[in-house]
């Protein structure tokens, strides 16, 4: 398992946001976490990425106990994340958005001098990554000038530049047009297939999740109520009940 949580728990006041969650993510899988609003999905993400500290339990990533690690340390051991609201460096060029991540990965973010060769190598790698997310030709544009779907792709590309072993994606399809959703979904699959990166997705678009995922974890009221491949989730009675008043369009 590349990512494993053991009895991960977080309470907000009396509310058990995440309760004894045992998550097991296999390498090179697309693993989705779904559940009705308030099920604890985003809290689970924040617990894994160190944004909040768990009350109990631990997080193992690639054999290392990373419980409560700050974001910058997680990035160093190749765990990346993207955000529910697209998160890029708006005023910097598309190329610079990627170059920042590459330099951070290489540990040269604080240098004030790079050889021309290093700069060219970084640029070449950045262009290569932009090609993977179909943003070639937009290198010099400001990130803020990109259309919404392209910004989301750039957000993912920034994560890719860290050469991650695993990317956590918080609602990558939220707020996007149907066309953009297809593009991003295709991109996610392509990344897993070509780079072998593990992808963990929190997502509301259940139909898309069913198509995309190798395995699905379903949460409700902070508990895991099911964890299985899509076909089994589809027929799971508990899941059907949880979504009875929701929009579980299977």
């Amino acid at each position: 398992m590349i990512l494993e949580t053991t009895d991960l728990t977080k309470h907000f006041g009396g509310l058990k946001a995440v309760n004894g969650v045992n998550l097991r993510i296999a390498p090179a899988a697309i693993h989705s976490i779904i559940g009705p609003n308030g099920a604890g999905k985003t809290t689970l993400f924040n617990l894994i990425t160190g944004a909040i500290k768990p009350a109990a339990g631990r997080v193992m990533f690639d054999g290392v106990d990373v419980t409560g690690w700050p974001a910058e340390r997680l990035a160093k051991i190749r765990l990346a994340r993207t955000f529910q609201r697209t998160s890029v460096f708006h005023d910097l060029s598309v190329l610079e958005n990627i170059a920042l991540a590459i330099r951070s990965r290489e540990g040269i973010s604080r240098s004030i001098w790079l050889t021309a060769g290093t700069e060219r190598a970084i640029e070449a790698e950045a262009c290569d990554i932009l090609g993977r997310v179909r943003l070639r030709g937009r290198e010099k544009d400001k990130a803020g000038a990109l259309a919404h779907g392209n910004q989301r792709a750039l957000d993912i590309a920034i994560g890719l530049a860290l050469k991650p072993k695993l990317i956590l994606m918080d609602e990558p399809l939220a707020g996007m047009s149907r066309g953009d959703r297809e593009t991003i979904a295709t991109l996610i699959t392509a990344l897993r297939d070509s780079l072998g990166v593990t992808i963990v997705v929190v997502e509301h678009d259940v139909a898309m999740v069913m198509r995309l995922s190798d395995r699905i974890t379903v949460m409700q009221h902070g508990y895991v109520i099911a964890d299985a491949p899509p076909a089994e989730i589809r027929d799971n009675e508990a899941v059907r009940k949880a979504y009875l008043h929701g929009s579980f369009a299977i």
């Binding site: 955000f83 005023d91 973010s109 604080r110 790079l114 530049a161």
Partner: protein, 333 residues
């Protein structure tokens, strides 16, 4: 075919023009002592403007890069002035020793102060910089046996360099102006370097910066130290140039003025705050000799700029320039 060429932006020509304009401005600045021989006061005023420009540049290295808002930047300017002045009286008058000493001690102290400050965000950081400035201001009076208290630090000896005394106003001007040019070149170099880009990333999106593995606290601390050290260097130069240092140098009013120069010139543009500080130092002198209400006009102008041109004067000018260039291209197309 010819249409296509005409409508294409011409970055090469634009860049050459910008380069020439900068070179002309730099040469004009360097020539000041040559045409002020009979106006010694003008040269002194110009020297003060250059010092103000260095301080404004130092604040822009903090505000304009990592986005940290300081209400107490004059603290470092005043710290440098007193430290250099006291060392000149007690140790040596040699600038080759004095100025590096000031910078090194400022690096140490700003690293300690910054370590606490940069962990605070937004308003807390700004308020704490103000508090720190006022602590230093109060210290001048507490340590009045060394600092001269309310009377200021008097009798700073004439500094020397390689055995020669630095006395001539023209030499002083060129020394200060040289420091400004080097600082500017350094600031532009850092802006294009990985460090400068990482600073911008923090200003743009701190959370994302963390998640690409940037050590945000350390990077903020570095920008704080660089900024404080340059301000202290300017203060040290000013104390030696002026022969005295007064407590006003590190008062909040001074900090406010520097902040206004940066905002007026254009936060983060590097050159904007430099020109803003120089222009307003000179304007202040002449307008305040005509009317006592200078601060009212200055304040009114400040409010106007913040509302009408949030990018500062530099932002407004470069916007205008781009529009003219676009219109010209549109016309010839």
């Amino acid at each position: 075919m010819s249409d296509e060429i005409a409508t294409m932006p011409m970055p090469g020509t634009d860049r050459r023009f910008t380069g020439l304009a900068l070179l002309a401005a730099a040469a004009l600045g360097a020539s000041v002592p040559l045409w002020t021989e009979n106006m010694p006061f003008v040269l002194i005023l110009a020297s003060q403007a250059v010092v103000a420009a260095i301080v404004a540049l130092s604040l822009d290295l903090l505000m304009g890069s990592t986005g940290l808002l300081s209400f107490g930047h004059a603290a470092w300017y005043g710290f440098g002035a007193y430290l250099t002045g006291i060392a000149a009286k007690m140790l040596t008058a040699d600038v080759v020793v004095l100025l590096p000493l000031t910078v090194v001690l400022t690096i140490v102290l700003s690293a300690i102060v910054g370590f606490v400050l940069v962990r605070q965000i937004g308003k807390t950081f700004a308020i704490l910089t103000l508090a720190f400035g006022q602590i230093l201001f109060a210290l001048v009076f507490v340590l009045s046996s060394i600092t001269g208290g309310e009377d200021g630090l008097q009798g700073i000896p004439i500094p020397t360099a390689f055995g020669f005394q630095i006395v001539k106003p023209a030499v002083w001007y060129w020394l200060l102006y040289g420091v400004l040019l080097v600082a500017l070149a350094g600031a532009f170099h850092i802006r294009r370097s990985p460090l400068g880009k990482a600073w911008l990333a923090i200003r743009e999106n701190t959370e994302r910066a963390r998640f690409i593995g940037l050590n945000v606290s350390l990077l903020k601390l570095l920008s704080y130290i660089v900024s404080a050290s340059l301000a202290a260097l300017a203060g040290g130069l000013f104390a030696l140039f002026n022969g005295a240092a007064s407590p006003d140098l590190l008062n909040w009013f001074e900090s406010g003025k520097v902040l206004m120069y940066v905002v007026l010139g254009g936060v983060g543009t590097i050159i904007g705050p430099v020109i803003g500080a120089a222009v307003f130092t000179v304007t202040e002198h002449y307008v305040s000799s005509i009317t006592d209400s200078w601060l009212i006009y200055f304040g009114g102008f400040f409010v106007l700029i913040v509302i009408v041109a949030p990018g500062g004067l530099f932002g407004a000018v470069s916007n205008l320039w781009q529009r003219i260039a676009a219109a010209r291209r549109g016309m010839s197309a």
